[in-house]
Amino acid sequence: MSEPIVIVDYGMGNLHSVKKRITKAGGTAVISSDPEIVLNAAKLVLPGVGHFGKAMENLEKYNLKEALNTAVLTKKTPILGICLGMQVMAKYSEEGNAEGLGWMDAEIKRFKIEDKLHFKVPHMGWNTTANQKESALFEGINEDPEFYFVHSFYLKANDDSIILNKTIYEKEFVSAVEKDNIFGVQYHPEKSHDVGNKLFENFIAL
């Protein structure tokens, strides 16, 4: 049995559905807010729902920022960020006018919609994603898979090489990123039926 994946608990949303999905995908997972456990994890998942500014405050408050930086940047621990957990990997967000972890050259911006009747915010529901490059995360997943999204802010990459897939909601935005050992998805694989399950299987197999 491989070592459990550590799901980082920093007080931002429901982590149990992620844990359940990892278990169903054949992995094991523990939920923890202990910096020691995060530092020594074999693999990490950083979920998150809510406000960017509050998320960064909580990472400080729980003493997790340094542990995460060391684990991800120095020890090169594989990490998967989900939704807000992906956004905090960027340098900056308009939400709360706050600095992020800065692992990727990207910023988080609010959707500016022109056709407000057809494109409501939050972008809530199922949307197809167009893969921009090959990734171990998408092994065995069909081209242009459909995932479940809920978000009002999106990631704008300043470094094109990190872009894994893109999605259109009136305009195109980045819906997944990859840089070395760091993966992030804007959508919720834990709510995306079989394709989400496959994504977790792939992350477990990394």
Binding site: G13, G50, P122, Y148, V150
Partner: protein, 255 residues
Amino acid sequence: MFRPRLIPVLLLQGDSLVKSIEFKKHNYIGDPINAVKIFNDLKADELVFLDINATAENRTITSEFVSKLSEETNMPFAVGGGIKSLDQIETLIKAGAEKIIINSAAVEDPNFVKKASEAFGTSTIVVCMDVKKKRFGGERVWLKNGSKASAHKPTEFAQLMEQNGAGEIIVQSISNDGKMEGYDISLVESISKAVSIPVVALGGASSYNDLKQVHKEGYASGLAAGSVFVYQSKLRGVLINYPSKEERFQLFENS
């Protein structure tokens, strides 16, 4: 392609799944968890569960049930029924819910929605507004399972809910509920035009085509229904059904 969500709305009465007409005449449909398993196998976009006795019995939809639901599903779902405190929301989120539907409490205390969205995030908080015409006077938002009218006019109430941080609004027509004669499209359209958050239409659908129509003409981005997904036809023989992924894409092509 972004496409509207098709959302079965399942009503709980005790341990049973039921379907109403005009919020009355409840017909037994079956076992709720069994229905959830079927919708999960059919890869439904999203589910809504409402405990319709909770408010009257001064409790919420139970966390035991929500926990079972989250065990069985691999998709987003929202739960509602009797929710009026932040502690209750926290309990239900811990049990596995990620979307919480507020109905009567939002009408009685609009500020509660503000507190809830600040505490749990905008996308967690859904407001369901039940709308009916008063015998004398215009349309109003009703509460307590459609038994009492409030002074709120639908569009103004929807705007207030958006201001207070609701992530989406379910607009339910009480008069159309269960009749299978189509949505109140002008009601849905008026709400869609009044707010910039997602609007979910509910009440009256009889076919997948009705879902398509309320998207096209009412600008709803969530298309919710009870009867359509639990009955075979207007004869109301129980049959859980849901269109395949391909059918869903076809339904909303060029729309």
